[in-house]
């Protein structure tokens, strides 16, 4: 047997005791064999090869090497990509639009509705959610009148009023009209929500505003269940709650506009409400603090709605113009019409649920 070769541990294979010193001790040099010098020279040579020359500012900005003509070409190509072949007038239009927004030269109606914000910002950003995420199927859109006042009455569900937003999108998509939602006063108390709501066409759900909008020929939307509907537990899904005092019917009767019942299936499953923290809700001044299978456990990720399949059905318009002027003050008639609307929505909810093969498709 020859001499055993000693390989020190923990030094990366280099001779030495792994003490961290660059130069191994004399003892270890002798242990490791006879060619330490040559090896060292080799190493220093390779490390000097790795030394780069100082970076110049020219190199740091790689664009400097590209001639301006190429820049222009690239920009032009990008413009064609974004705006199509007619990119110059398109881009000019976009610039003019931005300039106008910047200078405040646009008009809002008396409710604070800003059509440009609604169309180009709100509805445009809802499109992928409506089409790709919820795959909304709309039925009976022909029941929406092409012009004149009308009141869309819908069931309300889903913990957050996503159904309202989706209805706005669906109405605009199928008729080109803007649905003017009538929202709870909480909407107008919350920062950001309030200003965005008014700009996208909402106003407060009160008799004065409802009548004003309907008389002005707008297509208004109400969710008479209110917080009772949107904040109901998942176990009570698709069970319509009480329809308030029927104020919406009185407003429609007084202005003689048709009521269009709308049933939305799918919104119940986006945030299944399995619990509530009433004490925290009271503290925050909110109607409820929801607990869903994902929220608050996943934090902000829990705010991503579940991708349920949505069906929306606009029912036959219920005419109110044949009642005489005083009918709106007749509580019995108002309750009867309210019940009729409620029953219509409930029935079509059941039939839509039967048609849906599963929650997800």
């Amino acid at each position: 047997m020859g001499d055993a070769e000693v390989i020190p541990i923990g030094t990366g294979g280099r001779p030495g005791r792994g003490s961290g010193q660059a130069r191994p001790s004399a003892a270890s040099r002798t242990l490791a064999g006879a060619k330490p010098r040559a090896e060292r020279r080799e190493r220093t040579a390779s490390s000097s090869d790795r030394l780069r020359p100082a970076t110049t500012t020219e190199e740091r900005a790689p664009g400097a090497g590209i001639p301006p003509t190429e820049w222009l070409e690239a920009l032009q190509a990008a413009a064609v990509q974004v705006f199509g072949d007619e990119w110059e007038p398109q881009l000019a239009r976009v610039l003019a639009f931005l300039r106008r927004r910047l200078a405040g030269e646009y008009a809002v109606d008396e409710y604070g509705f800003d059509q440009e914000v609604a169309e180009k910002l709100v509805l445009a950003s809802l499109r992928p959610i409506a089409e790709k995420w919820f795959r909304i199927e709309v039925r009976g859109a022909e029941n929406l009148p092409p012009d004149g006042g009308a009141l869309v009455v819908s069931n309300h569900s889903g913990t957050l009023p996503v159904d309202g937003l989706m209805t706005m999108f669906a109405v605009h998509e199928h008729t080109g009209r803007f649905l003017r939602p009538l929202g709870a006063d909480l909407v107008f108390r919350l920062p950001f929500v309030s200003s965005l709501a008014r700009k996208s066409g909402a106003t407060l759900a009160c008799t004065e505003d409802a009548e004003r909008m309907l008389a002005g020929g707008e297509l208004a939307g109400v969710w008479p269940e209110g917080f009772k509907g949107i904040g109901k537990p998942f176990t009570e899904r698709y069970k319509l709650q009480r329809f308030g005092r029927g104020g919406f019917v009185a407003a429609a009767v007084r202005t003689g506009v048709p009521i269009i019942p709308l049933s939305v299936v799918g919104a119940e499953e986006i945030y299944p409400l399995i619990g509530n923290v009433p004490s925290l809700a009271r503290l925050l001044g909110l109607p409820y603090v929801p607990i869903t299978p994902l929220f608050p456990w996943l934090g902000p990720l829990g705010l991503v709605p579940l991708p349920s399949k949505w069906l929306m059905e606009f029912g036959e318009p219920i005419r109110t113009d044949e009642y005489d002027a005083g009918a709106a003050d007749d509580p019995m008639l108002v309750f009867n019409v309210t019940d009729q609307v409620r029953e219509t929505i409930q029935q079509s909810l059941y039939s839509l649920l039967m048609q849906r093969s599963s929650v997800w498709q």
């Binding site: 003019a96 200078a103 008396e110 604070g112 407060l204 004003r212």
Partner: protein
């Protein structure tokens, strides 16, 4: 007017303020108006023309003597003030507003010659809250009764005026609830707010605003002196504007502040005498307000010349900044765009 053979004698209160003084002057030049008597506790600063000024504090009964002696038949009450300003503190302001109106109305009630009373009130009386309807009509009440400040003063004043109208049914009483008056000469809480170099706003809220041009204020008051229509009327220019839009048109920077912080900033600005924020103005700048002017047109028969936007544009021409760098950039880009487009057409 033809039935009324003798020319009118009009008493105008609050002429020490710019709007009051200019209205009195304008009225004195009107045909059918014989004399205009301006009343205030402090003499007016500028030229009052043909107006005869009587230095009298409407807070004490002297005002009754003035009305009796001059044989006044029309009273235009313009001294309902929104800010204490030079008058002193809030206490003085309240006294001027409420006690002053009470004394004036008491004097009017005793004067048999009084035929017309025109009161310049304000749309502040409707308050501003998240539960407001989009547009207030004259029959609507504020959603929350104001507990203090200008809004409460105005609510009380209007109460006294309704009482007066009941007791003297022979007097035609016209109350005008005006939106914010704007104009190059106007000094008011809202104009001093827009004159700030950097405009504080409430984060996350974009109130709706309505304006009346100062010349329309003059016109509507003159119209009310001549007309025979009694009642309460909202007066505002057509259309509404958002605060964000107004600020952009002024080309001024904004500082959005969370709502609790706005109170502190408002206090600091007040002590620096830069702007006078009151609680009701804070509410207004959070929730905004709209007033319906159907009745102004249909019943009062008045048509403002300036829309809300035009009134603001006239004001912005004085207060606003020149073209901002960002706008200049956009203008430059669009002119660049326009040129190649035309040459391109030539090449093709």
């Amino acid at each position: 007017m033809g039935a009324e053979s003798r020319s009118r004698v009009v008493l105008v209160t609050g002429v020490s303020r710019d709007l009051g003084r200019r209205f009195a002057r304008r009225l004195a030049a009107e045909p059918g108006v014989g004399r205009v008597i301006g009343v205030d506790a402090v003499p007016p600063r500028g030229d009052i023309g043909d107006v005869s000024f009587v230095r009298a504090d409407i807070r004490n009964p002297v005002i009754a003597k003035v009305i009796a002696k001059e044989d006044v038949d029309t009273v235009v009450h313009m001294s309902v003030i929104a800010t204490p300003g030079s008058a002193g503190g809030r206490g003085t302001m309240k006294e001027l507003n409420v006690i002053g109106t009470m004394q004036l109305l008491a004097a009017c009630q005793k004067a048999p010659g009084i035929r017309h009373l025109v009161v310049k009130s304000t749309s502040t009386v409707y308050g501003a809250s998240s539960r407001d309807p989009a547009m207030f009509t004259e029959e609507m009440q504020p959603r929350r009764q104001p507990s203090s400040g200008y809004a409460k003063d105005v609510a009380e004043i209007e109460g006294y005026i309704r009482g007066f109208a009941r007791r003297r049914p022979d007097v035609r009483v016209t109350t005008l609830r005006l939106a914010n008056v704007l104009g190059p000469h106007v000094t008011s809480p809202i104009t001093s707010y827009f004159r700030l170099p950097v405009i504080p706003t409430v984060l996350g809220f974009d109130p709706r605003l309505q304006f009346v041009h100062e010349s329309d204020l003059m016109r509507v008051l003159t119209h009310c002196v001549h007309t025979d229509v009694a009642g309460t009327f909202n007066v505002a220019g057509d259309g509404v504007m958002l605060l964000s839009q107004a600020v952009r048109r002024l080309r001024k920077p904004t500082v959005p502040l969370v709502r609790p912080a706005v109170g502190g900033v408002a206090g600091a600005l007040k002590s620096a005498r830069m702007a006078d924020f009151s609680p009701e103005q804070l509410g207004f700048l959070t929730f905004g307000r709209g007033i319906d002017t159907t009745r102004m047109r249909a019943e009062l028969g008045f048509e403002p010349t300036y829309t809300t936007q035009a009134a603001f544009a006239d004001f912005a021409a004085v207060v606003g900044q020149p073209r901002s760098p960002a706008e200049a950039l956009f203008d430059g880009l669009s002119s660049l765009m326009a040129e190649p487009a035309s040459t391109g057409a030539g090449d093709g």
